[in-house]
């Protein structure tokens, strides 16, 4: 178990502030944040490549803050893989065991085993330069796993490969984590990736940790609007005041079952908003007449942006409804959503 206690680090104008977090045994932990927020610095602090100005790092309760990287056993896979260009794939993978003084026979067996797991047997005698992005990625993983790491640190490992390879490698990473029972710290700027992979996700904004939790927790109860926005959520509305379960938002009132005095923002999932061409009676407590302001086609699900007075909301509907309702920019439509669909922040 890795524990960071109030880690701080300053480089000129950049400052990492008071970072505390825990990575449990066998956990797939994702560090999610926009670029430039200090994720890589934090990773290098964990690896021992950068010394923090403040704070302590504990591994299974033991203070390892001043232990050099070669004695920590946390291996790093960098975004561009950082393969050793002057060595064959085989010798890249063997680098760690050789540095540890393993016997030639033991190294041979270890390389063979990892080559099988990661399906790189065919390329063991090639040089990194001649490999595709996906192959390089697997070699980098094999090299990192060859030392039998206590913790695997992955710095944006999927950002340099194309979409299809990325989907395949995601599964591979998760499989390694589960089968070899290695805890993983995975850095990414992509919320999708974090959701798909992370047992727990840590959202970092402005060099500070904002929220740690499972994907479900983050998406259902983001702790602040910044986090929600970063996660790509739409329909976050600031609330002026709340009275008896009704949120006052500029010139509109929205009924929200969960609203109380502490509510500052509400959030409505785009796919929980129903669009109709006529008003209708239903159990849903919120219904507004709107104008269609814009239609965006993301993949095959049209996102319809509607405005009602000063309030602007986006609804995600199926392509079929989109065609049946004949929605066009400027058309008058009704939106309907349940009071229980209104989430409070």
């Amino acid at each position: 178990m890795l524990e960071l206690q109030s880690i701080g680090k300053r480089f000129g104008a950049f400052e990492l502030k008071d970072v505390s977090l825990t990575i449990n045994d066998g956990e797939y932990f994702v560090l999610l944040g926009p670029s430039g927020v200090g994720k890589t610095v934090l990773m290098e602090i964990i690896a021992g490549l950068i010394r923090p100005d403040k704070g302590r790092i504990l591994w299974d309760g033991e203070d390892i803050t001043s232990r050099p990287p070669e004695a920590r056993g946390f291996s790093v896979v960098y975004q561009d893989y950082a393969l050793f260009g002057h060595l064959t794939v085989r010798r890249n993978v063997a680098y760690g065991p050789a540095a540890a003084g393993a016997s030639a026979e033991k190294i041979r067996r270890q390389v063979a085993g990892l080559a099988e797991i990661l399906r790189i047997e065919e390329i063991l005698d090639r040089y990194p330069k001649s490999l595709s992005g996906g192959e390089q990625q697997r070699v980098a993983l094999a090299r990192a796993l060859a030392v039998g790491p206590q913790l695997l640190l992955l710095d944006e490992p999927l950002s340099a490969v194309d979409v299809n390879t990325r989907l395949r490698l995601r599964k591979e990473l998760k499989r390694i984590n589960t089968e070899l029972n290695v805890p993983v710290l995975h850095i990414t700027h992509d919320p999708q990736e974090a959701i798909t992979l992370g047992d727990r996700i840590c959202v970092m904004l402005d060099s500070r940790i904002r929220q740690v939790g499972t994907a479900a927790e983050l998406f259902h109860e983001p702790c602040e609007p910044d986090v929600a926005r970063f996660l790509g959520m739409r329909n976050i509305l600031p609330v002026n005041r709340v009275k008896g379960g009704v949120c006052f938002i500029d010139d509109r009132q929205i009924e929200a079952g969960a609203a109380d005095e502490t509510t500052t923002h509400i959030w409505i999932r785009p796919e929980e908003i129903l669009i109709s061409t006529e008003a209708f009676e239903s159990s849903a407590r919120n219904q507004f007449r709107c104008l269609v302001a814009e239609i965006e086609h993301h993949g095959s699900l049209p996102a319809v942006q509607v405005v009602s007075g000063a309030m602007s909301l986006t609804a995600l509907i199926t392509y079929r409804s989109f065609k049946e309702l004949q929605i066009a920019v400027g058309a008058e439509v009704y939106i309907t959503f349940k009071s229980s669909s209104v989430h409070c922040l």
Binding site: G48, P69, E70, G73, F84
Partner: protein, 261 residues
Amino acid sequence: MANQRQIGWFNLVLALLGSCVILFVVAPLVGIVLATPASDLKAASVDREVLESIRLTLAAALFATVTSALVGVPFAYLLARKDFWGRSIVLAVIDLPIIIPHSAAGIALLTVIGRQSLIGRLFGRPLTGTTAGIAVAMAFVSIPFLINAAREAFGSVDTKLEKAARTLGAAPWRVFFTISLPLARRGILSGLVLMWARGISEFGAVVIVAYHPMTTPVMIFQRFNDYGLGAATSVAVLLILICVAIFIMLRVFLRPKAEEF
């Protein structure tokens, strides 16, 4: 088309200017070769005095290069990797020998290895007029070339490779020998050859530190002074050919091979 011609004009003017530069560099070298009868060149190449001076020049420069490499290459690694206080001053100091006039450098070296110097008194005799003195003079004027080449070569090695190696369990010295040095080897090797070539061609500092034993550049000057242009050209051509040969070696064998990595 008018616009097409414009591009042509622009490049044409540049190419013409370039021809002037090439001519300026090549003309003296062609001139001296044309001015030297083959018989003179043959005579020079069997002249024992000339051969002895060439042997001395190559050996002294080699000695200076190898000794400097053992000390300078690890230091270049430090300069490429660490950002310590005063680093830019250290970099400037290393470049000093490049801009100090070589005859002045020779005089300055005399104050350290000459008769009155500490080293002179320590050894009981000065290093002036010895092969060791010549090597020191050569090393002084050419060590910046080696250190800068090695520093740049190390600098072009991605530090992420070294960091990755550290996290794989390699101690700093192991990272240096298994990652940094092999990846920088081409740049370092070309720095070594460059330093050797600069040592061979050194005249100003060497002539002041040691007129005898006579290195080839000094011999060219001595023959020019004592016997005139004709006597000097054959030795000069011989030395130019040796330097050009080393230079071609540097260019052809040490050119980074794109296909490798």
